[in-house]
Chain length 395, copies 2
């Protein structure tokens, strides 16, 4: 007797490669000791939360025996959290975004699900440049949507012609993740303006709204201080999604937001719908502890320099091993070319040398592999010999 | 240009009556002062969390400047939280339930959504006795399921014949909420055994699994210490869903669980699917702060006697006003008969007397209204005159 839907049963048999690496890592660490394993598989920030978080936690603790200390709140979020987010988003997007345009969500993942629930009809397509964060396919699929990956150019910049060719009467949204997981690419103003122009044409042609979802949880991880243009400003039908998982090292507490472009006509309708879908998907409201933390700590962040030094160390390790890569401008990933056509062979060779990486197939880009540099600089430097040995083994 | 799907647009135009009452309440409290408004509209527990929560928060605060203090964790939940939940669930269900059978969720609402995502095909039906918690319809509808309410008997017990008649080839689950919101009813062993028997027959007849979802966030609110039988024990195809929103006054922090019956054949498949759907719906994992709190405080709870005294006070208020009701055995709601056939007229009359209640239509039971007694005993007693005046006004 079938316990699951066929769809979900299919998902299980293709269980996440990232997760399998995670499990292999646990075994290796038991065997060799954690310091002798180079685990670049997971984007789980290892930096402690900034000290302001501890102070804010103490304030919360002091009142945690009071009525309503952890009470229900408006589904869109606490007034103080929305006000803080409005300040953050206005600064980041370089345009005034009022608190009413912001819904506090259960991380970026919760925000994207709430958005797709509100706007996707069955069969609607969501375009995204590949390589891409593989969860997007699930998020669209939860509500009958279909993810349509479109290969980026060789340098990971947007292929505007390919995106244009992918748009049709079923297109409902384009999801753009910048800085990008897994490539570290930051899209330029001219690339984004070209997408906006495409979509304005397509809306006229097909007579329906086509959204841009600007997924920006890595916005603060911008190593070279290049411009990260505001899609909220460039395109009226855009929403920006963010999270504090990386900037405040709070991934387990699940806190993020969705901001609707102030340029959108009738934006109140979309915001009302997001408030409702945030409720009915079972989030009800974003976790209250995290809401109170970001209300106080919205303008804090972990030390970017630490990540920048790690990036530079990792670049040297790869270069010394003769592995080709494009230097990531942001986020905390490298997405190098595999020295073998089938990157899974190289990932196995790395595993033999106690290096954990994720095959690019898991991101819609075979022939590459992903390294997350959420580990110490020393650990990165210590992995140099292992990369050389693995590369030599497959050449 | 349509911003939303037609379905979601429809939801918005029927926005929650509970929410409208909430807004009317804010206005009344501004005008007359909070102590002169009798707000029985929302199930937002007013008791402070038990003192053990403050101690557990302090422990968390002390380590909140450490790496991974709020880190990612397995999608099914922290080992310590699942172990604590296994102890709680085993005790409550009076049978051994191992940690592997438990997924930590974003409240009960998150648990039900994760479950429906795993098992509902488009067009599948979910049966529930009416009156019922109106969000169930949304939870099923999120994944193409259809809620099929079946009226309970006049005393709010289960109508086994009516349930039997409602089952067909599309039936995928029956959701039973005991103690019940809004009626306060606790289903007896013989009622639940009859449902289990029905479903065993229907499974044979239709050749598909039919689940029971035992939604039990009010399990600890059992005023007369009657038996709350274990559906996990009575029926192999059952899951029990619980939450700490009421027992620990933590509704805003969103913490609950889903426990799969240890009697289910191949339960690992369902548990694997729930781990996946919990992840892909955007919960990723239940909020980490709450997981750490329940790992320590799973066997604590707010003082039941306070709620019992309120129940008795509310019963007296209603009796004195000549309003008919069935005494709730559990949860913190009354669901009395309206003195007028159209209960919305009576709810308006109550509003004139500064009493906030929710029409029964919002629970699939016109002619009734719901009162949540999450307010002080004094406030309940003070409302006596208002109930009398409102009842007199409509007679």
């Amino acid at each position: 007797m079938h316990l699951l839907t066929d769809e979900v049963k299919g998902f299980l048999s293709n269980s996440s490669m990232i997760r399998r690496m995670f499990e292999a890592g646990i075994e290796l660490k038991k065997q060799y000791g954690a310091e002798n394993v180079y685990d670049f598989s997971l984007g789980n920030p290892d930096l402690p939360p900034p000290p302001e978080i501890k102070a804010a936690m103490q304030e919360l603790t002091d009142v945690s025996d009071q009525p309503f200390a952890f009470g229900y709140m408006p589904n869109a979020g606490e007034v103080s959290a929305r006000a803080a987010l409005a300040k953050l988003v206005s600064k980041e997007q370089n345009m005034p975004v009022p608190p009413e345009n912001i819904i506090v969500t259960c991380g970026a993942a919760g925000g994207i699900n709430a958005f797709f629930r509100a706007v996707l009809n069955r069969g609607d397509e969501v375009i995204c440049p590949a390589p891409y964060f593989v969860e997007y396919g699930f998020y669209a699929g939860n509500f009958g949507g279909i993810l349509k990956p479109v290969p980026a150019r060789k340098d990971f910049s947007l292929d505007i012609d390919a995106l244009s060719a992918a748009i049709n009467a079923n297109t409902r949204a384009v999801i753009l993740n910048s800085p990008n997981n897994p490539t570290g690419k930051i899209y330029t103003r001219s690339e984004l303006a070209a997408v906006a122009e495409l979509l304005r044409d397509a809306r006229r042609k097909f007579g329906r709204m086509i959204y841009i979802v600007a997924d920006e949880p890595y916005r603060f991880l911008n190593f070279d201080r290049v411009e990260i243009p505001s899609l909220l400003d460039l395109y009226d039908g855009s929403v920006a999604i963010g999270s504090f998982s990386k900037s405040l090292s709070l991934p387990g507490e699940r806190i993020g937001y969705i901001a609707v472009s102030p340029k959108l006509d009738n934006s109140g309708e979309l915001l009302g719908a997001l408030t409702l879908t945030n409720r009915i998907l079972g989030f009800v409201n974003a976790p209250v502890v995290a809401q109170k933390l970001i209300a106080k700590c919205w303008d804090c962040q972990v030390d970017l320099d630490i990540y920048r030094r790690r990036r530079d160390a990792m670049a040297k390790v790869l270069t010394d091993a003769g592995i080709k890569f494009i230097m990531p401008q942001g986020a905390f990933y490298f997405f190098p070319e595999s020295p073998t056509a089938d990157e899974k062979i190289f990932v196995q060779a790395l595993l033999k040398e106690r290096v954990l990486a994720v095959p690019g197939s898991g991101f819609g880009a075979p022939g590459y592999f992903r390294l997350a540099f959420c580990v110490s600089e020393k650990n990165i430097c210590d992995s140099a010999e292992s990369f050389k040995l693995a590369a030599a083994a497959v050449r």
